[in-house]
Subunit: 151 residues, 2 copies
């Protein structure tokens, strides 16, 4: 049974990993891809943050447009963290990403879920709901950056 | 009448430009943003290209997923070409982008339209339709790169 569990885990890992590594011509592309997707997301997330923090006037339509983009972008970066992409480009990604795959995936799944909630909150146009959802999303960024990104 | 037309054109230009320049903290961020969005788009576009050109087996579901992402990403880069973002970072963008704003916008609008057609074609699962729509989208990339990107 132990051997079976081990093989099952290995098969799962391959199934999870294979598409990611196959999608990019070289590790450098995967690194550039994940950094690009995260940067685009951060710019749109920051615009919601500016409204949440009162630095710019609240505009429900703009908040919702940006939140929709964040929710879409949140799904993308993770394919760029496939096996063999810990090196090969200028990256601050910690090796723990590849030794703690399940935990890392849990973190990225959480961002996807929280950013979908943020997009839903933004559709209501209620600033308090947006503030709550924004904070929850921002927390998923922080937890993951603290654990998996070099300073 | 001529003065009015001139003012109307100026107002239109400001309306078109103001949000773009206001969205980024500095020109460097706008440049990084547009390059990031274009790179993410290119990776997904390339995956459809690999199927269209027979380098990888055709998978209708994968083609459609990638085409949806291309269609979404195609809307983003243009906000990063606001006034004052011709310099301030490592960019291959030609100055003509800012002196031929209407023509540049026509080109970017065409990519948005063609990539939406590509996403629709991909939903049909018909490889020939995808090939036609892919070629039309790729042509909009080439026309714009030839005119507005330094080698």
């Amino acid at each position: 049974m132990k051997a079976f569990a081990c093989i099952a885990a290995a098969v799962t890992l391959v199934a999870f990993s294979a598409p990611a590594s196959a999608q990019f011509a070289k590790p450098e592309d995967a690194i550039k891809y994940r950094q690009s997707a995260l940067f685009v997301m951060s710019q749109h997330f920051g615009r919601i943050g500016a409204m949440v923090n009162g630095r710019v006037p609240f505009d429900a339509k703009v908040a919702s447009e940006n939140a929709d983009i964040v929710a879409d972008m949140a799904k993308l970066p993770w394919a760029g963290f496939g096996p063999g992409t810990d090196k090969g480009g200028n990256t601050r990604a910690k090796p723990e990403i590849w030794t703690e795959q399940a935990k890392f995936k849990e973190g990225s799944d959480k961002l996807v879920a929280e950013s979908a909630k943020l997009a839903a909150a933004a559709k209501t146009g209620n600033l308090d709901s947006i503030k709550t959802a924004f904070a929850a999303s921002a927390d998923t960024c922080k937890v993951c950056h603290d654990a998996y990104r070099n300073k």
